[in-house]
């Protein structure tokens, strides 16, 4: 595999590195991964990613004017024009189970689970296993990390989770079981270290993995002892811990087997970029890097959180996102909501273009990847969960047809699309949550 300059996020990494760290070393890294990588490409890798944007959209500016084959895009989606043949817009999908008394919490957590969140602020929270995790169990077992969950919110804010719902619902998109939310990491440096280690020689790294492995062995015994000491209810919890121990053991075995790259010293994102857009792009760069190096094949990215009050003065929206989203059909606010939507889509377009430009096997990374962009809310003014903004991006290797706008006459479960995308990465389920079927029209034109 030839690593071209475009394959690496030169400029953006510089921003993230912050200071004095020389970038060209990064170029040196990918070739060390490539022999293994090239080998895997031959077996036609399937990858799946999800990007979440909060608080719905201005449907008028979002929805393409025509259906079927499209050659033009609506204002909010305009940034995707260069890759129009790699995207399909889908209208009138809905999340019935997101209608709750905690609509922001459920917009987030129902997006990938399509399940109804149990109303509780206690430790008994319960949802459904999310679609990315179902995919990870099937297509993530050959990689060091079955899946990657990332976001951009660095501090856990207080007081802005829906009353009656544990913050876990509003913070976490991915749930590996109905009771197991997966934490979202926003620090690029931490993400980088999780993907590629924190430096040192391969021997030192292997020695560290071996030590972690032996600590896990001991944890297994220790938890077994603990289980004997506890009552029936608490034993369930210990059982969950044991599952986690086994999963981490599996990951360590994978990492031990893998031909780990020797990372140049000092060469990792040092901190969080001060400008949010730079942060988002850096997180996208890391996603491309993770997929390219085949460290993981399933990614969820929460671009922003529900009830975000981020302002976007540089695009003409000095007002905070959440109050703008309650637009009350005020034309001025609707314009601003559309601007935020277009802005978020332009950042997503950066990812898709980057995937498109990155060579992978016999084509581009995008050819072997499917990404879904969307929100768990439709019209944010009334907190509804119908006519969700959804865009799917992918390439020919994913058995995916782009350049289309599919609009359902009747509100159709988002779960149908989840099932369809699972099909495309080789994971076949009869049903998922409230699904009623599959989404037609995503097949390539000439198969």
């Amino acid at each position: 595999m030839i690593v071209t300059k475009t394959a690496l996020p030169r400029r953006t990494f510089l921003r993230g590195l912050g200071t004095a760290l020389s970038l060209p070393l990064l170029d040196a890294m990918v070739p060390t991964l490539s022999p293994l990588h090239a080998q895997r490409v031959a077996s036609s890798i399937r990858r799946l990613g999800y990007v979440y944007i909060p608080m719905g959209m201005n449907a008028a500016a979002w929805t393409p004017a025509t259906e079927g084959r499209i050659t033009e895009l609506s204002p909010s989606l305009l940034a995707l024009m260069p890759v129009i043949d790699n995207i399909t817009v889908i209208s009138n999908l809905e999340l019935r189970n997101a209608y709750t008394t905690g609509n922001h919490a459920s917009s987030n957590c129902t997006f990938l689970s399509c399940s109804r969140a149990k109303r509780t602020e206690g430790s008994d929270y319960e949802l459904g296993t999310t679609v990315d995790q179902i995919a990870a169990r099937a297509i993530g077992t050959d990689t060091q990390m079955p899946s990657l969950e990332i976001g951009t919110d660095l501090i856990a804010q207080v007081g802005n989770c829906d009353n009656g719902y544990a913050c876990a619902y509003q913070n976490n998109l991915s749930w590996s079981s109905p009771t197991s939310p997966l934490p979202t990491e926003a620090d690029p440096r931490v993400v980088f270290e999780r993907l590629f280690g924190d430096g040192g020689s391969p021997e030192a790294r292997r020695a560290e993995l071996k030590k972690s492995g032996s600590i896990l062995d001991w944890m297994t015994n220790d938890l077994a002892r603990l289980r004997r000491e506890l009552g029936a209810g608490d034993r369930v919890r210990v059982g969950q811990y044991l599952d986690s121990v086994r999963e981490v053991e599996r990951r360590i075995q994978r990492a031990e087997q893998s031909d780990a790259a020797t990372l140049p010293d000092l060469d990792r994102p040092a901190s969080v970029p001060a400008v949010w857009e730079d942060h988002v792009r850096l997180m996208f760069d890391l996603q491309v890097l993770a997929l390219q190096a085949d460290v993981t094949r399933v990614i969820t990215f929460q671009m922003a959180r529900e009830t975000s009050t981020r302002t976007y003065p540089h695009i003409g929206v000095p007002e905070p996102h959440h109050p703008v989203s309650h637009h009350t059909n005020d034309p001025e606010k609707l314009v601003k909501l559309a601007k935020i939507n277009a802005h978020h889509v332009s950042l997503f377009a950066y990812l898709i273009e980057k995937l498109h430009e990155t060579p992978d096997g016999d084509g581009s990374l995008l050819d072997h990847t499917l990404y879904m962009l969307g929100s768990g809310m439709g019209n944010p003014d009334v907190h509804d969960h119908t006519n969700l903004p959804i865009v799917v991006a992918g390439g020919r290797g994913s058995q995916f047809k782009g350049g289309r706008h599919i609009r359902f006459d009747k509100p159709t479960p988002l779960a149908n699309l989840h099932l369809t995308l699972l099909d495309k990465v080789g994971v076949h389920l009869d049903t998922f949550a409230d699904s009623t079927g599959r989404v037609d029209g995503l097949e390539p034109l000439n198969v």
Binding site: G164, C167, P181, G200, S244, E319, H383
Partner: protein, 802 residues
Amino acid sequence: MRVGGLMHNRWTACLAASVAFLVAFAVILAGEPRQQSATVPSASPSPDRATLDKYCVTCHNGRARAGGLALDTTDVSQVAGDPATWEKVVRKLRGRMMPPAGMPRPDEPTYEALATHLETALDSGAAARPNPGRTDTFRRLSRVEYQNAIRDILSLDVDVSSLLPKDDASHGFDNVANGELSPTLLERYLAAAQKVSRAAVGGTLPSPASHVVILPSDLTQEDHLDGLPFGTRGGTIVRHTFPLDGTYEIQMRLSRDRNENVEGLTEPQQVELMLDGERVQLFGVKPNRNQSGAYYADEAVDKDLKARIHVAAGPHEVGVVFPRKTFALEETERQPSLAHFNMDRHPRVQIALYSVSIAGPFEPGTLTETPSRRRLFVCRPASAATEDDCAKRIVSTVARRAFRRAVTDADIEAPMRFYKEARAAGDFDDGVEMALRAVLASTEFLFRIERDPRTVKPQTPYRISDVELASRLSFFLWSSVPDEELLDAAIAGTLSRPATLERQVKRMLASPKAEALVTNFAGQWLYLRNLAAANPDARTLPDFDDNLRQAFKRETELFVESVVQEDRSALDLLRANYTFVNERLARHYGIPNVYGSRFRRVTLGDDSNRGGILGQGSILTVTSYANRTSPVLRGKWILENIVGTPPPPPPPNVPPLKDTDTNGRLLSMRERMAQHRASPACAGCHQLMDPAGLSMENFDAIGRWRVRTESGSSVDASGGLPDGSTFTGMSGLRAALLRKPDMFVGTLTEKLMTYGLGRGLEYYDAPTVRDIVRDARGQDYRFSSLVLGIVSSDPFQMRMSQ
């Protein structure tokens, strides 16, 4: 109102006004066990029955069941039989939230009589059948707790945000409902154990690593910053733990504008690098002149701002500052805005620091002593023969601190095995490091585990052990592990003796570690934590910068700390006539004669708009949007955190509001909010929330006093509380809150208990809260009386078995 139409009209009214309550309470009540009263209502109706019949059963009857509640058939003489329902009734009565506005309401004596009767009955019912509740068996250490525990166990400061993911909060606190351990989390804890044990032992040669600190981009650096040497301006101090003696490279970068030019560089300036307060090097930077004679600053300006210095292992302070020029003050005085960080609106006048990076070690030397090594190595083996004994002492000592109990041979068997393996492959330190890594990865360290004793029958309240009590205490007051003295008392079995307990609590509150009550508890209770993410709009609020953000935080922290440390009345949190300011904050508040960056206590005059947390910039900013105030957010904050009656969430499918009136005129914020309260779906809650927030309208979105709103109209600060009281402005709000001291103190007690117990409070906790508030009342609600009340209570000392 015609009598004949009364029932019908009232019924319609209660339907309309209570849609939101209905939705909320139907959910709340669903699934809760309701005990059926077996007794038949007595023949002669009691006054309580009469009150209920007159004011409540119109909506809350067997047919309508508003909020899932039927009070017509419930026996009010058997209140203790259904505490879950009646506690809700009490809460609504105490907050005067029911009957809803617009419906006939009882007079004050009637309200009081009914509420008091119900409370008395509930309290005696609870005394007869105590239910201390059940804390979660597993509670994972939160980020803050982990960081503090490492500090106390190993004398090591770690940056926990790079070790562990952020915690999800429940019931407003991130130490509630966190028993989960996903594979991702477990991975992170394993990695943290490795990093922490390596840093604590030191000596292992890591590959050179860099630590980069980037200063907030909106930090104004024209003036002296608190905590930095006098005679300097701007800059920062980086506290960094150096892993090994050796040479480290410190590199500084200057702040640039978006054209990549160094900001504020119009003449030669100096940068000073310091280590532990001593000058290491003084650098000069100067602007370049381009062909047309204009100044510009290119990439090369700060490329030589670096030094290779020898540093001994352990924690050190790396300082980077700018020597202050004598005329700098005058120059900044001329600027209209106090904030200087933005090239378009209020540019920097002088150069500013962007980042400091510390890389190394290069040419590593030997390892000298560090605080963490001194804390960890309680012995040093004199010879190879005594190594194992010494290792055992080290491991036992650290395991005792980390597991927060006496350790057995079985506890240290595995860590010692790890020690031996690593010792065989390396040296003594390697062995200790591996044993420590195992201790830090143990569930006994990562979780606070409370076990039901085998002898206790199911569903029975039991007293937790003294050792468990010690951890409850230390995590409540210190957000950390118990210290030796507390642990000794617990292991000796004397901690639960009331006199010992009181002595320990007072000792702990006086300790600097009680700062956690301010930073961790109050940081979450009052939403101070959100200040870090508050980014007011630079166009409408150009005076805001990081200096002000930090000053807001500091003011409230110092203020809350003064109430805790001086053991003042909790009511002082609302009514104190003093606060803490530095020059920047004093100017923001319009307080004269305060100079310099140092914070000091100032007494406020009777005519001051400030005093108490409600008038502090921190609270007023975190309850605002970036470009305007939000009476809804502020009102909700007051109800949730001060009054203790959080409004239910908005119902699904709220209808949109109109922006204009019938003539097409754009409605003002107040008018639109009035419409909010007129819409049946919204009114139930908004008529409770909004008025409290509206009374705070004299403070803008960054807490400045104002007489005109964002739109230019004059401020109308009339408002009210759910109890029906109406008033104007902050002083009116404060007075109304202080008229019902039990309400605020009760809310604070509930918040402290939620945080201290790590669980949401339930109906069966209400008698305890009332009891604590009653006892505290006799002691002028002193802060320690609340803490002692909580610590001595059944929920804190007991637990219901499974």
